[in-house]
């Protein structure tokens, strides 16, 4: 697999704060790679170094084979950026911004199509200052794609979007990936990371603590599967003896069984054998939330 981005031992310090502490990872051609972590974890600093917007204190970076510091000019022609805390002139209109940004590169896609895809056609004549947070966000993503980039960096792309707009945005990002553009995104939304990213890095306190596919992370770090059902049966102590089961707990009629591997099938078989037929037997999937908790020892909101 071709590597589009290589990061080796990246370090960035602001005063006495170590924002990024020895981060290394790679991004392959055509994937959606995500950095997931709480605010202040160092995600934004990392991608800003990759875009040549900040000078790293140590480490080796390559984006499309270019050094983001010394080849920043060439790099900016080939990447697209959606940044946090940026703006357009208050009185610049939506269409003017799209027209300007797409004129920066030859063979850019028609900006009218991008405007349509991102639901901005109705707002084409509105000035930037009159757009809502969500509309600004969509405009910034559209601008990031205006020069037909090989890699696009999206920093908290869906913050400020309502749920429907978020789902539309995810579909559009997948479509961009399917067209061959590599996507690097920063997010603190678990569901976004889980559903959208092909591979994911978990960032906490300036360190990259794990990199894998969302499912891979869940399998590795949230190994315990939870099976839940309800029954009025009094004695369930025999459940401890069922293979794959590690822990049983009970709150009134509700029974929770934790275990590994095919624990659901084992529990189901054992229940049927004893004539217990709960109607609500199910397995609760561990989520990235559990992964995050098990890796960092805290939830993402902490």
């Amino acid at each position: 697999m071709k590597k589009i981005i290589e990061v080796e031992h990246l370090r960035k310090v602001y005063g006495s704060t170590v924002a990024v502490n020895d981060i290394s990872f790679e991004v392959a051609d055509g994937e959606i790679f995500g950095l997931l972590g709480p605010n202040g974890a160092g995600k934004t600093t990392t991608v800003e170094c990759l875009q040549g917007l900040r000078r790293p204190d140590a480490g080796r970076l390559r984006v499309l084979g270019l050094d983001p510091q010394s080849d920043s000019r060439e790099l900016r022609r080939q990447i697209g950026s959606q940044l946090q805390d940026s703006a357009l002139p208050d009185r610049m209109r939506v269409w003017e911004a799209l027209d300007l940004f797409s004129s920066l590169m030859p063979n850019s896609p028609d900006w009218r199509t991008t405007m349509e895809q991102w639901g901005l056609t109705e707002k084409r004549k509105s000035s930037f200052s009159r757009l809502s947070g969500g509309q600004r966000q969509r405009l910034f993503v559209a601008l990031a794609l205006a020069n037909n980039p090989k890699v696009v960096f999206l920093d908290e792309m869906t913050s400020g979007l309502d749920p429907a707009a978020r789902h539309t945005a995810w579909d559009l990002i997948r479509a961009i990936r399917d067209r061959g553009t590599t996507v690097v995104m920063v997010t603190h939304f678990m569901d976004e990371a889980e559903r959208l990213c092909d591979r994911l890095g978990i960032v906490d306190c300036g360190r990259l603590t794990a990199v894998d596919t969302p499912q891979g992370l869940i399998t590795t770090y949230a190994g315990q599967v939870r099976v839940v059902f309800s029954t009025e049966h009094a004695d369930l102590s025999w459940l401890q003896g069922v293979p794959n089961v590690s822990r049983v707990s009970r709150h009134g009629p509700r029974v929770e069984v934790e275990g590994t591997g095919p624990v659901l099938a084992r529990v189901a078989a054992a229940l049927v054998e004893r004539g217990i037929l709960p109607t609500d037997l199910r397995q609760e999937q561990p989520s990235l939330e559990d992964v995050f908790l098990s890796i960092t020892g805290h939830t993402i909101q902490d």
Binding site: L53, R73, L88, R91, L100, F101
Partner: protein, 245 residues
Amino acid sequence: MRTLLKMTWIELKLFVREPVTMVFTFALPLIFLFVLGGVFQNIPSEEFRDAKPMDYYTPAYVGLVIASIGLVGLPVHFAKYRERGVLRRFRASPLHLWCIFGAQVLVSLIIATLGGILLVVVSMIAFDVKVPESVALVIAAFLPSVIAFAAIGILLGSLLPTTRAAQGLGLILFIVMLMLSGSGPPPELMSDAMEKTGQVMPLYYVIRLMQDPWLGYAWNWDAFMILAGVTVVASLASLRLFRWE
């Protein structure tokens, strides 16, 4: 080139959509024109280089149009862009710094030309100002003057971190230059110290460069060379000192 023109066109539209800047740039020099035009009797006198006061002041007020763009308009524009994150947005795009600067120079030229023509036409109608002795040399003086002040404006905009700082310092510089460079009391009437201070101001040379051919004197090479020097130094300093964030 296409991008430069597109950028210039957009910036020009943005300027027109900003009424406060428009009024400041176009109306302020007109107000001075009418105030001083009402004070002096428009007869030739020694302190006005043997010319009528309004013939003397009209090129000076064209200088004011130029100075207000360079000292207030451009610095505030850049500082606002920096403060709001517009420069950050531009920086992450393939837009070159020279394109951002170049568009501002072109916009300054267009606005100064419109403001200058407006002022000259009004003073011709209201104060019977005569056509310059050498129109060609006045135009030749106007262009480097605008470019010099655009360079100063970009330098100030590169250095001043916030809109407030740009507004404050820009206005102070503008008022001091306005008073001491020949658009307020004529340098011929100033004390030695005032006149010397005035000769430190770039606006002094802008006014001399335009006033000399306007009143029939020869092309002022000294003023021209000084403005050329100011342009070069300010441009190089801007490229070195420019801060995106």
